[in-house]
C-alpha cells in the first residue's frame, strides 16, 4: 500500500513544517547573537536584527495561518 504523495486538504505539508522549523532555529540563533552583542555594549545591530526577525516571523505566521497554496487550505 503506497502513501499518498500529496497531503490531504487541510494538512500541513512537510515543506511548510520544515520551513517553519528553520525559521524558528534562525530566530533562536539571531536572538542569542543579539543578546550577546547587547551585553557587550554593541547596540548598533538592533534595528537590523529587528527587521530580519520581523521578516522571519512574518514568514512563519504566513505559513501557519495562510499556507493555502502549499497544503490546500488554512483550516486545521
Amino acid at each position: 500500500m503506497s502513501r499518498p504523495s500529496r497531503p490531504r486538504p487541510g494538512q500541513f505539508s512537510d515543506v511548510a513544517l520544515v520551513i517553519t522549523l528553520l525559521v524558528l532555529i534562525s530566530q533562536l540563533y539571531l536572538f542569542e547573537t543579539v543578546l550577546q552583542s547587547v551585553l557587550d555594549g554593541h547596540r548598533a545591530l538592533l534595528p537590523g536584527a529587528f527587521a530580519a526577525s520581523s521578516v522571519l516571523t512574518a514568514v512563519a505566521l504566513l505559513l501557519a495561518f495562510k499556507a493555502r497554496g502549499i497544503d490546500g487550505g488554512p483550516q486545521a
Binding site: 494538512q11 536572538f31 551585553l39 554593541h42 534595528p47 516571523t57 512563519a60 505566521l61 501557519a64
Partner: protein, 186 residues
Amino acid sequence: MTWWRRAFPLELAEEGHFSRREFARFLAVVSAGFTAGIGYLWLRKKPLEGASDPEAGHHETPVALGLATDLQPGQSRLFKFRDAHDACILLRTPQGELKAYRQTCTHLGCAVRFRGERLECPCHEGFFEVDRGFPVQGPPTRPLAAIALETRPDGSLWAVGELPKPTDLPGRIASCPREARQEVLS
C-alpha cells in the same frame, strides 16, 4: 470506570491530539516572541543588568582607588564603581601593570577573583587573562568589562570609566591544556 471519569467524561485521545498546523502556529507565535524580545532590547534605553555600557563614560563619576603604589605585583583589591552593586577588581599584573575589571563573570555572573596570573571564576572554573580580560578557559565566551584607570600627578589612582569591549576576540586557547589548568588550581 472510576467516579471522576463518569463525572468528567473527557475524550482523552481527542484532548491529546495536536495537528501539524497547530504545532506550526505554536512555532510562529514563539518566533513572534523572539521578535518582540529583540524589539524590547532595541527600545530599552537602560542597559541590561551586568551589561557593558561604555557610553555612560561621558558622565561617569571618578572613583578614588588610593595610591598607585599600594598594590604589589600579583596583588588585587576590590572596589565599587558606579554604585554599591557594581563590584570591580583592581589588580597589578606580575609584569607590574595596573588593570581593573568588572568583577562579574560573563558566563553566569559569579564574582571573579585574581588567582595566580589569571582571573578565575570559581563557580564553573572559567579563566580570563589579565591583559585584556579575554576568556582563556572554561565556559565564558565574552571578555570581562574593563575599567579605565587614570594616575594623577599626586600618585593617586582613579577609576574614570568603562572601556569599550574589544571585538577582536582571539580564538579560545586550545593550547591551554589540562596541565595549565592544574597549574592554576594548585
